[in-house]
Amino acid sequence: MSAVPHRLHLEGLPRRRAVNRAMEVLAWIAATIAVAILAIVVFSVAQKGWSELNLDLLTKSPIPFSLTNAPQGLANAFAGTLVIVALATAMALPVGILVAVYLNEFAPASVRNGVGIVLDVLNGVPAIVIGIFVFGLLVVGHGQSAFAGSFALSCLMLPLVARSTMEVLALVPNSLREAGLGLGIPQWRTTLSIVLPQTIGGIVTGTILAVARVAGETAPLLFTSSFVGTQTNWNPHHALQSIPVAIFELSESPDPKDHARAWAAAFVLLLFILLASLGGRWLATRSRRKLAAR
């Protein structure tokens, strides 16, 4: 490489040092900018959301086109998000774990690589396209429902859960599997009652991270669960409001009162997601270290 001098240019040294110094300063600035962006966004949301945060947000229903100052909340959105995300997790978790078990314990290398690429491709499909897909699959002819929204979110969760489970499965030492098989325990029992229990910690943290990721997703829900009532509803056969869709709609409203509720909802959502993803990350490093130490 031409940047590596072939002989010492002593006379060029001050200039080379200056370039080096400039680049170091630029890298420091880049890191400062990245951290500052996070600080500004989180601070904005916290500052504007905190002042609007009250119990009404969780307990009261929204009143569309309200001209009075009657207290409004987003109770329907909180209930809907709980239902939709819980259902999505219930759909994605077992399938994701089974995919990981198959790829890690049974599949030949070629199949593992192939399905691995499929998981990466699925992970790369834009969320809005997943929304359009589920719209075409479940909504056309049947109408929107929380169930359709959950299915859309589960498509996003599936590759995340499968990948994180595969990562922890790969850390389980082969000696454990061999010990099980050596004792004459059939492979399926070895897998289910010896190998998988070792990975519970990793699966739980992977699931937490996946939930944190999809709880804030708006795009898959726009076409699947957005024509909603204002009353709190827990029935997944109906379209249910969700926090992200509520924030999206409120943010496009011209009414500052709506903005205030959007900030409050964004604050709650962000708090949940940051705690879940930081907690999940911490647990992940811990359980990985524990497994790797064995």
Partner: protein, 329 residues
């Protein structure tokens, strides 16, 4: 082999043997079915999107892709993806142009410069940026960033660099420019965390060798680390581009909307993804719905192309360096 042998053996082995094999087989079949279902799901996504776009494909053919039109008035309906394709290209490419040097700086800072006590916290903070939901970034973009850009940055750029057509008359604050900044914020953590891992993978002996030859730290980065990590960094940039292409919500919130191709970054527009998201409240006709799905199809093709290219590059690089690294973002 005589039948007597088999029957003599029968009571002892096959019963338990068959039960064992049955358990193994059923777990393998169930788990294999899950893997197959995942593969089928990806195929189903592609098929459903093509199927939904069929009406528009039949009506407009391939010229839909570059035709500039979006007229939902009944009896005069005419749709085309041209302006959205332009919006997608200009926002995601410029966002990448903004984010790439920043991300390189962050990654180099985290691997080469940061004092030890700063490394873990700053790494965690940058990754936290990726965890913020796009709707929250969009809310901040429309209510805080957009007005700030409109009042301060856009007039400055216009008066200083107005001779460049990109920096035209400032508008409402909802603009391509705001969308570019928001997208840059969203892809920065992706590109920087992958690049950081790549830089960490550069062998110490190469770096130390360069330093021992008397290079400065920057010359070592340019002469050893960049060439070594080149392929991976390219993959990281492509993944970032794929993310920017597909981002719908935050862009919809800040881009302003509109069906035009103009060079003024401070005006409104739409990307493929933002046009789809903005139309969620329903279409008047079947043809309009189908045209929206056609937009999704174009988007799917581009993001799959970006993703598969990036995976391919990552796998090639990993094979060359003899290391296995997760290819997923």
């Amino acid at each position: 082999m005589s039948t007597a042998d088999v029957s003599a053996d029968a009571p002892r082995r096959p019963l338990s043997g068959r039960r064992v094999r049955f358990g193994d087989l059923s777990l393998q079949v169930v788990a294999g079915a899950a893997a197959l279902a995942t593969t089928v799901l990806v195929g189903l996504i592609v098929w459903k999107v093509i199927d939904g776009a069929r009406l528009a494909i039949g009506n407009y053919g391939i010229s839909y892709v570059w035709h500039v039109a979006w007229n939902p008035v009944i009896d005069h309906e005419l749709y085309g993806a041209g302006s959205f394709l332009f919006g997608t290209a200009i926002t995601s490419l410029l966002a990448l142009l903004l984010a790439a040097p920043l991300a390189m700086g962050v990654a180099l800072f985290l691997t080469e410069l940061a004092p030890r006590f700063l490394r873990a916290p700053v790494t965690a903070l940058v990754e936290t940026l990726a965890a913020i939901p796009s709707v929250v970034i969009g809310l901040w973009g429309i209510l805080v960033l957009g007005p700030a850009l409109r009042d301060h940055i856009e007039p400055t750029l216009h008066s200083g660099l107005g001779f460049i057509p990109l920096f035209g008359t400032p508008g409402s604050g909802s603009s391509l420019f705001t969308a570019i900044i928001v997208l840059a914020i969203m892809i920065l953590p992706i590109v920087s965390s992958i690049s950081r891992e790549l830089f960490l993978g550069v062998p110490h002996e190469l770096k130390e060798g360069a330093l021992a030859l008397g290079t400065t730290r920057w010359e070592m980065v340019r002469g050893v680390m960049f060439p070594y990590a080149r392929g991976g960094v390219a993959a990281a940039l492509i993944l970032g581009l794929g993310r920017a292409l597909g981002e719908a919500i935050a862009v919809t919130q800040v881009i302003g909307g509109g069906v035009f191709i103009h060079s003024n970054l401070f005006g409104g527009g739409d990307t493929l993804a933002s046009k789809i998201a903005a139309s969620y409240q329903g279409s008047t006709t079947k043809l309009q719905t189908s045209s929206l799905v056609y937009l999704a199809l174009i988007l799917l093709v581009f993001s799959l192309a970006a993703n598969i290219t990036a995976q391919w590059v990552v796998r090639r690089v990993a094979r060359r360096h003899g290391i296995t690294r997760g290819g997923h973002a």
